[in-house]
């Protein structure tokens, strides 16, 4: 049997002031079930705190959950900070109450996937698996 390759580490973050963490905790839980090592930041983290944690924990991906409507501002800030810190290769995905009209803009910013309410765990895991496999470092 081949040695089990550990799956990469993922940070689940709640930027801004929104305290609705049911979705974030649920996604953290199902990603753990799928074998990922997951770091959850807790609620009400600033973009700086999230990027610090991501760099410190050397994560391959960051999942951001936001239900308050502040996603356009805060996702952008986090992606900018990642680039400033030389961590622009970290995969960023998101979820929450995000109107369809905002999806093209978020994609342009570099958000690799957005999982809106109702997305199944299976879809989330398959998408993350695929996106991370595509980015695997040699």
């Amino acid at each position: 049997m081949p040695a089990r390759v550990p799956k990469p580490r993922i940070l689940i973050g709640k930027p801004g002031l929104d305290g609705h963490d049911r979705g974030a905790k649920y996604v953290a839980h199902v990603l753990r079930d799928a074998g990922y090592e997951v770091v959850y930041t807790g609620i009400r983290r600033s973009p700086e705190q999230i990027v610090d944690a991501a760099v410190q924990e050397d994560v391959a991906a960051i999942g951001l959950s936001l239900l308050s409507g502040a996603h356009n501002v805060l996702f952008k800030r986090i992606i900018d900070l990642l680039k400033e810190r030389g961590a622009g290769d970290v995969l960023v995905f998101g979820g929450g109450t995000i109107p369809p009209d905002d999806l093209p803009g978020l994609e342009k910013l570099g958000v690799a996937a957005v999982f809106t309410p109702g997305t199944s765990a299976k879809t989330i895991i398959e998408t993350i698996d695929r996106l991370l496999a595509g980015r695997a470092k040699p």
Binding site: G16, L17, D18, G19, H20, D21, R22, K25, Y26, H29, V30, Y40, G42, I43, R44, S46, S68, G69, A70, H71, N72, V73, L74, R77, T97, I98, P99, P100, D101, T116, P117, G118, S120, A121, K122
Partner: protein, 560 residues
């Protein structure tokens, strides 16, 4: 045989004589005669018919009883919705005070009967609109309020002695209530004339909703200062709305929702008693707030169970004597978490079922969610349909024509008993940990809710639970929908206004007022009058809260 049913008839006659008749004298029912769509007369109350044995009659009276009487299983008023329909209260607020004021006037024009103010997150967490922590959040989930100037604009042209106002505000409840009182003063309305509700339920913020500022203990002191102030000066104000809604939204089951909520209530009551208040002086102004989800009978039974359990807690545990202290009065909101982004029109049907559960369960007021809220804040059009849903239930369905129509259903009575038992077990477990505060500090309640949410999610993943349009009956892409957008310019205009207020107010008066707040926080005097003086001086929400942060510190979320 005749003798036994006579016992129940006699109790009914007594109830009619002692409760219904005096009530009708004060205010009659909405109609002289209620009838079904086909013209049959509908009675106020239906009771077991025929051969009711003595034992069964006693059991009926102890567990179910008459509306307006202990244990209030059938409702808190003798005539319930025949006397007065529930208040149709739509939660609203976004962007600036002026835009929210326009939405309130629209809602009042559409037949809504009370206002419910949504504040943005910086206001809820005590940051001014120009604080770096407020970036991206100003005006998003509610209206931005920095100073009294914003609150004046929010209620411009809305007479506060005529319109009851509910405010969803918790960590900063003392500041916003002070602003409300100050605006009323400017309208010439005395505090004693104000009617409304302030959420002021900080415990569920640690458990589920997340808008806390200070650690639990100083937060509870603010709650009890507000209680004491309202008891003395704002006597018609519901000074807390103890909320299961957000606990349910976070994933709790129906039984956990009422169990944790009543455990929170116990903590507030103990805090107020410890501060020297007397239970019958404040308990009549404790209000509750629950969710209504789609399992119609379980939800209706939940409200009945909550009323019965609370009545017993108030009478037996707290020895309250005033029957009003035993009554659990509640607001309901349909379940935000049940709304789907897929096929959003289906949400109108979900909301209708949930609203029906709330009405059948005897709610005092109701907010119906709009179909587009899994995607954004609701548009005016979506809000109108949500309000019309309540109006159809009220005026066309006939369910409000008799009190507690589900009573006596084998199924609903059994559900009521089971939910009461589950909630009571939940309270016992929390009591065993030393109460809600230690249970929160240890993460016990948060863990239970998260486990419940995970189980629920997994049952959807496995297809055991069907969500129409999500894991069954799916369609392709939904057609695009008109959604409400909050203009990003709101934040800049709000910051501009705040700077103008800071530049034109009497800053020496502000400084003195804030120093008095800091001194008060270090000591033990009631903070409400000090905060009131600060808001009258146009000190901002952020300035007052930063002053308190300096004394109380900030709460840090604990992880398991």
């Amino acid at each position: 045989m005749a003798e036994s049913s006579d016992a129940l008839r006699a109790a009914q006659e007594k109830w009619e004589r002692e409760q219904v008749a005096p009530g009708l004298e004060k205010s009659p029912e909405l109609r002289e005669r209620f009838e079904t769509a086909s013209g049959r007369t509908v009675d106020r109350l239906y009771l077991p018919e025929g051969d009711v044995g003595d034992a069964a009659a006693r059991a009926y009276q102890e567990k179910i009883g008459f509306p307006g009487q202990y244990p209030f299983t059938r409702g808190v008023q003798p005539t319930m919705h025949r006397g007065r329909l529930w208040t149709m209260r739509q939660y609203a607020g976004f962007a600036s005070a002026e835009e929210s004021n326009r939405r309130y006037k629209f809602l009042l024009g559409q037949g809504t009967t009370g206002l419910s103010v949504a504040f943005d997150l910086p206001t809820q967490i005590g940051y001014d609109s120009d604080d770096p922590m407020a970036a991206g959040e100003v005006g998003k989930v509610g209206v931005a309020i920095d100073t009294l100037a914003d609150m004046e604009a929010l209620f411009e042209g809305i007479p506060l002695d005529k319109v009851s106002v509910s405010m969803t505000i918790n960590a900063t409840a003392a500041v916003l209530l002070a602003m409300h009182i100050a605006v009323a003063e400017k309208q010439g309305v005395a505090p004693a004339k104000l009617e409304g509700t302030i959420q002021n339920d900080i415990l569920k913020e640690y458990i589920a909703r997340g808008t806390y500022i200070f650690p639990p203990r100083p937060s509870l002191r603010l709650v009890s200062d507000l209680f004491a102030h309202c008891t003395a000066h704002v006597p018609n104000w519901n000074m807390i709305s103890i909320s299961g809604y957000h606990i349910r939204e976070a994933g709790a089951s129906a039984g956990q929702e009422i169990g944790v909520t009543l455990a929170d209530a116990i903590c507030y009551i103990e805090t107020a008693l410890a501060a020297g208040l007397k239970v019958d002086d404040f308990a009549p102004r404790l209000a509750f707030f629950f969710a209504a989800h789609s399992d119609l009978f379980e939800e209706a039974a939940k409200f009945r169970a909550a009323r019965r359990l609370y009545a017993r807690i108030m009478r037996e545990r707290f020895k309250a004597k005033n029957p009003r202290s035993w009554m659990l009065r509640f607001h309901t909101q349909t379940g935000g978490v049940t709304l789907t982004a897929q096929q959003p029109d289906n949400n109108v049907v979900r909301v209708a079922i949930q609203a029906l559960a709330a009405v059948l369960g005897g709610t005092q007021s109701l907010h119906t969610n709009s179909k587009d809220e899994a995607l954004a804040l609701p548009t005016e059009e979506a809000v109108r349909v949500a309000l019309r849903t309540q109006q159809v239930i009220a005026h066309e369905s006939g369910v409000a024509n008799t009190v507690d129509p589900l009573a006596g259903s084998y199924y609903v009575e059994k559900l009521t008993d089971e939910l009461e038992a589950e909630a009571e077990a939940c309270i016992k477990a929390i009591d065993a940990l030393g109460g809600v505060v230690p249970a929160i500090e240890r993460g016990h309640i948060q863990r239970e809710i998260e486990a419940s949410a995970y189980r629920f999610g997994q049952s959807i993943e496995r297809g055991e639970r069907v969500i129409v349009g999500v894991n069954k009956f799916q369609e392709g892409q939904d057609p695009p929908m008109e959604l409400l957008r909050i203009d990003e310019g709101v934040a800049a205009r709000q910051v501009e206004r705040l700077r103008h207020v800071r530049a034109t107010r009497d800053n020496a008066r502000v400084k003195n007022a804030l120093e008095a707040v800091a001194r008060g926080a270090k000591g033990s005097e009631n903070l409400m009058p000090l905060i009131l003086e600060a808001v009258r001086a146009y000190a901002s929400v952020g300035e007052i809260c930063n002053t308190l942060r300096g004394v109380f510190g900030e709460h840090q979320e604990s992880f398991s």
